[in-house]
Amino acid sequence: MARAALTGTRLRERRMALGLRQADVAAAVGVSAPYLNLIEHNRRRVSPRLLEALAGRLGVDVEMLAEGAEGAQIEELRTAATALPGSGAELDRAEEFAGRFPGWAALARGLARRVASLERAVEALNDRLTHDPHLSDSLHEVLSAVASVRSTASILAETEDIEPEWRARFLKNLHGDSERLALGAEALVAFLDGSDRAEAQVGIAPQEEVEAWLAGRGWHLAELEPGGPGAAALEAEIAGLASAAARGLARDWIAVMARDAARVPLAALEPGADPVRLATMLGVEVTVVLRRLALSPGAEAGLAICDASGALVLRKPAEGFGFPRFGSACPLWPLYAALGRPGSPVTADLVAAGRGGRRFRAVAFCASRHPEGLGGVELREAVMLVAPLRGGTQPGGGAQVVGSSCRVCARGDCPARREPSILTDAAVG
């Protein structure tokens, strides 16, 4: 009934858009005008044969009439309902709801989108407030100076019989703390002022600067491909980065990307290719292929690279798969499984925790090297490619539900959780 209801509405809209009379269309497909009227008003189910005839008369595909643009909208309603498992929404009646109450359905979809957007904003802001070392340092400096000023001033004001030498010391301390306070407040204001300017570099870590630059270049540097002008052509852009540390990091990544480009030609990177097989074929480390796959022109896949401590040293986000800006990432990422098993590829299907969690296939590999030779340090670098999987947004099929970091993860039953999530109980479900 629900499918028929939508189809009837679409039939009527299409006929009226073409300026056709109901009676003429009914006659053309061999039914009575009152019967077509019932169909158009969603009171009769339309048979497949009649639907085919009507589609032919109205010049549209049968699928368009049967599914319509509402297909995606209904999927959106279902996703919104499943994001709140206790909501009691009748999932099996989503089509009927959309057909009978299109305005309310649009409102529900809009609210779900708004909630998702706000959650993303909360995630970003919380990440910034919780883990941003610049903010944390500035706040700590200000609060420490305030604590000292308060105690010292209070002593000076309330201790009537204070000895002159103590008075002099405290006055000197007060002066020093007031200067610290001024500097700390200035740093804090500079940080907060910069937080709403996309181009501002105030308080942005060098790694973020480099990632922002690479993102602006679409995560691909064509200059480094064989036959291209090479790294020298990027020097002017590198010089435009705000900090010397970021310029140094950018040059390091350019060197890595240039070496990768020389080893793995773009032509060898077929979508969906097995990176391990490809690496074997080309005689290169799997990590090289993973980087090339993620950093090839237009690649949708995300990329995370960490060192032996687990710190993320490069984050190319994938749509729907969040990476933490600071702090530790989700311990369930295959990246960390790979980190513990150098030389062994790790692959897993993942579902991003939260509303409308998307599915991804992750491939991770860890390479180790010994720059100091025998007896020297072992350096490890793990690389994880996160490629979106098409079809379906629901968990299942053995996929692991993962987040970006515990603080903003919606997974409620996670055995690896380090700290509570700021997301609501309802969202955590």
């Binding site: 706040l139 700590h140 609060l143 420490s144 305030v146 604590a147 000292s148 000023v149 308060r150 105690s151 010292t152 209070s154 002593i155 309330e158 201790t159 103590w166 010391r169 405290f170 301390n173 020093g176 703390d177 700290e419 509570p420």
Partner: protein, 122 residues
């Protein structure tokens, strides 16, 4: 009897102010400026109260508290933790580590003295 307070605080001006206040209160105050060796100092000095900062150079204040609590001779020493990080999870972590009293910076001198009196039983 004079109470002995071990103060572990890396901010010299805060340490000086607290030391002054507690000395006038009649306490004997010894100070450390980082967390390294703090637990050992508690074992050797056996203070009546430990006041320490959460964020210390070399070693977290929480690690110091856990070390104090883990040793049978110092396990029941009252510990007051000072911190500029007053968030709920810091407080929870402090309680879990065994902190007796958690005080957020900036604090008032009167509040500090009242807490010290309560903890050393004066």
């Amino acid at each position: 009897m004079t109470s002995h307070v071990l103060l572990i605080e890396d901010e010299p001006n805060i340490a000086e102010a607290i030391r002054f206040l507690l000395s006038r209160e009649g306490c004997r105050v010894s100070t450390l400026h980082d967390g390294i060796g703090a637990a050992e100092a508690v074992r050797t000095e056996r203070p009546d109260l430990v006041i320490l900062d959460l964020m210390l150079p070399g070693c977290s204040g929480l690690d110091v508290v856990e070390a104090i609590r883990a040793h049978p001779e110092t396990g029941d020493t009252p510990v007051m933790m000072l911190t500029a990080k007053g968030q709920g999870r810091d407080r929870e972590a402090a309680e879990k580590a065994g902190v007796t009293l958690f005080m957020t910076k900036p604090f008032s001198n009167a509040e500090m003295l009242a807490s010290v009196r309560a903890l050393v039983g004066k």
